[in-house]
């Protein structure tokens, strides 16, 4: 009994010694690693994360590295993250929704490494946070340009999945359209894929056939842009400035992760691990839009952008917002009906008289009046 206990103590001491030896005293040495789901050279989601990485590396003055083409939900992700940890990377960004569970597991097992997951909803109290951007803000401004550009009064929207993020973007865009063109409608085509140029192109063509002369999208390829260029219409992009890839390009709401990444890295460098569910907007620089001089409403767009930056305007916190049946959901920033969580019907997110808080936006599951399509996909 005693000898076993001694052996156990000896063993534990040894483990502790090894652990402290491995732990390293170079904690001040901050290195940041990024895991990407597709190649970074795609002008879309991953490209913008890589741009953010490069910008943050320079701003924070740290070494960074990345791996690309890592599938979600498999052993390849685990190997990639473990390799980074073994090489001393202590800030790890995982930039695809499907990495969420695995990132959570790694965070629990590696308390000295800070993990930041992009676009998910999980976090912990010590070393695992999530970040995302209020893309709906620039989407509203893009909608203003679309409303002014359309002649057929039909604007097409190629969209991936009917999740709140995408629905919110469509609604913001449609509200922007209504701002400059009350007669126009936004028609939605679902693709059930983030990246499939063939499927995206087909959906775009279907919208063109239905009379759309302006198209935008929530996808990862430029297929929608190619289809509308061929049809001689106008394209409003997403993710990045696609003017070089797409002839019909007018403008695009874009990502810029540089500041957010630099902030997380600086925090880690200073030893301040404060995980949060960070949801930045245009004022934080994580999302933006280039206002095209060629648009007849560029003056109005500039004005809206400025009031968003000043905090005087919020897309869903103004005017009368009705759903497709004409029921008023939000009036002057006040919720008018009972809104339930679409994923758990027993949870009331907001009721009549409540303010439009982030919970309302994060569970958004209805289309506004001038959208044609169904939120059930």
């Amino acid at each position: 009994m005693t000898s076993m206990r001694k052996a156990l103590i000896a063993l534990l001491t040894m483990i502790a010694l090894i652990a402290s030896a491995c732990g390293g005293d170079d904690a001040s040495d901050t290195k940041a690693a990024f895991v990407m789901v597709a190649p970074v050279g795609d002008a879309g989601w991953n490209f913008m994360h890589d741009q953010g990485r490069l910008g943050a590396a320079e701003a924070a003055g740290v070494e960074t590295a990345f791996v690309e083409n890592i599938p979600e939900g498999g052993a390849e992700f685990d190997n990639a993250v473990q390799n980074f940890i073994d090489e001393g990377y202590n800030v790890i960004f995982t930039t695809s929704f499907g990495y969420m569970d695995a990132t959570e597991t790694f965070a629990a097992a590696n308390p000295d490494v800070r993990f930041e997951h992009i676009s998910g909803f999980k976090m912990n109290d010590t070393n695992f946070g999530n970040s995302f951007g209020r893309m709906y803000q620039p989407r509203y401004i893009a909608g203003m340009a679309a409303g002014a550009a359309t002649e057929s009064n039909t604007i097409g929207y190629v969209a991936a999945f009917p999740i709140p993020e995408v629905i919110r973007g469509i609604n913001a865009f449609a509200l922007g359209v209504a701002n400059t063109n009350p007669d126009a409608v936004v028609e939605v085509a679902w693709t059930s894929t983030w990246f499939d140029p063939g499927v995206e192109g087909n959906a775009a063509q279907a919208l063109i056939d239905a009379g759309a002369d302006v198209l935008t999208m929530h996808q990862d390829s430029t297929a929608t842009g190619q289809a509308i260029t061929d049809a001689g219409g106008t394209f409003i992009g997403y993710h990045s400035d696609m003017s070089e890839q797409v002839g019909a390009y007018l403008t695009a709401p874009v990502w810029d992760w540089t500041n957010r990444y630099a902030d997380v890295i600086e925090e880690a460098k200073a030893g301040e691990f404060t995980p949060s569910a960070w949801w930045g907007g245009m004022a934080d620089g994580v999302v933006d839009i280039a206002i095209p001089d060629s648009s007849p409403v560029s003056g109005e767009m500039d004005a809206v952008k400025q009031s968003i930056l000043d905090g005087d305007f919020d897309v869903f916190d103004q005017g009368t917002i009705a759903d497709q049946d004409g029921t008023v959901i939000i009036d002057n920033g006040q919720v008018q009906v009972e809104l339930r969580d679409p994923f758990d019907d027993s949870v009331v997110v907001a009721g009549p008289g409540d303010e439009v808080h982030d919970g309302v936006l994060l569970t958004m599951n209805f289309f506004v009046e001038n959208v044609v399509g169904s939120v059930s996909g």
């Binding site: 498999g74 569970d101 758990d344």
Partner: protein
């Protein structure tokens, strides 16, 4: 005009496969080095990183062996069918079918304790894989329908079924409308063996190595050999070709299904569309490198697993994933060429006049 053709050697090269493999590997690494130098990387740094992360530490070994599990089982599935002269191109779909079977058990009985739940899930995975091979097996053995086409096309069916499930009836109610299945119960995770490897490594090792031994020593394996090499001989000695073709193809599907079950309970926290991750197709390469011999599959799977793990790890050295893929392909190509040349040789022959019998 000079013609080249491959002629089977009377006796395989001295040192055989192992020597050929090493030579093929060296040539591939040499080509790869040129590629790396041209793209501005030091071949020594990259290669040593590749080796270290795959085989240089217990953790590396754990990653390599974990990868060898689906590769080995898929390779065995293809090789088993191949020893009867059949091509099972459907291991990818059978892996998915296995994962669906396993996930189904976790759905209907999430409260079962781990020691009951895990075997039940793996059992359902085996049945799932076998089920997907059932149609092709019946069609081949009863009607003589080519199994290449049927197994290949069922891959598409399997991927669409899993896509339907995660988009529809099995969608996680707490997944924010993302097309993902719910998380599996915690106790369904395979226990850890060492570092990052789980018990799946043991299960796969027993199946792959055990089957190799059994196939080379049992009467059943001997019958398989006879039936695979000559249908007439088989029927003369009273082996039912029909029964053999059917059993072997279903068995092949069952083995691939097990791979899906182990991936689900070992590496994944929930059923995802990409659960098979191309392992079923890589299994064809594994079987080809093992010259369709079940006994050679284990070694090839570990070697290929090491190449993949090493290849993925060098991305952290700034090598783009495309370059890393080319390197892996070069190594595969070198090994495959070596495997061929250990049994065949290239001979020059004068052009055969047209019309002459070859």
């Amino acid at each position: 005009m000079m013609n080249m053709r491959l002629v089977r050697r009377d006796t395989p090269l001295a040192g055989g496969q192992v020597r050929a493999f090493v030579v093929g590997l060296l040539i591939a690494l040499l080509f790869g080095a040129v590629l790396l130098i041209l793209s501005g990387h030091s071949p020594i740094t990259v290669y040593s990183k590749m080796f270290d992360s795959a085989l240089g530490s217990p953790r590396g070994w754990s990653a390599t062996l974990t990868r060898a599990v689906p590769l080995g089982l898929a390779g065995l599935a293809v090789a088993v069918a191949g020893s009867m002269g059949m091509w099972n191109i459907g291991a990818e779909g059978q892996i998915i079918a296995g994962a669906i079977g396993g996930a189904w058990i976790a759905r209907i009985a999430p409260e079962l304790p781990g020691p009951v739940l895990i075997p039940a899930m793996l059992g359902a995975a085996v049945l799932g894989g076998a089920f997907l091979a059932l149609g092709p097996a019946l069609a081949r053995s009863r009607l003589g329908v080519n199994e290449i086409i049927t197994t290949l096309m069922l891959n598409e069916v399997a991927i669409r079924v899993v896509r339907y499930l995660v988009n529809g009836p099995w969608k996680d109610p707490e997944g924010n409308n993302f097309p993902i299945a719910p998380e599996l119960p915690e106790q369904s995770a395979l226990p850890t063996l060492f570092e990052r490897a789980n018990v799946g490594v043991l299960i796969a090792a027993v199946v792959v190595i055990g089957f190799g031994l059994w196939a080379s020593r049992s009467a059943w394996g001997y019958e398989l050999k006879i039936a695979g090499s000559s249908e007439k001989t088989a029927e003369y000695v009273g082996i039912s070709m029909r029964a053999k073709l059917f059993t072997v193809l279903v068995l092949s599907g069952a083995i691939a299904g097990l791979a899906g079950g182990i991936e689900l309970t070992g590496s994944s926290s929930r059923l995802v569309e990409g659960v098979a991750n191309g392992y079923g197709f890589t299994g064809i390469i594994v079987a080809a490198l093992a010259l369709m011999r079940p006994s050679g599959v284990a070694a090839v799977a570990v070697a290929l697993g090491a190449v993949q793990i090493g290849g993925e790890a060098i991305q952290t050295q700034g090598v783009p994933s495309a370059t890393s893929n080319i390197l892996q392909a070069l190594i595969l190509f070198g090994a495959l060429t070596a495997a061929v040349f250990s049994e065949y040789r290239l001979v020059r022959s004068a052009a055969v006049p047209s019309g002459a019998a070859a």
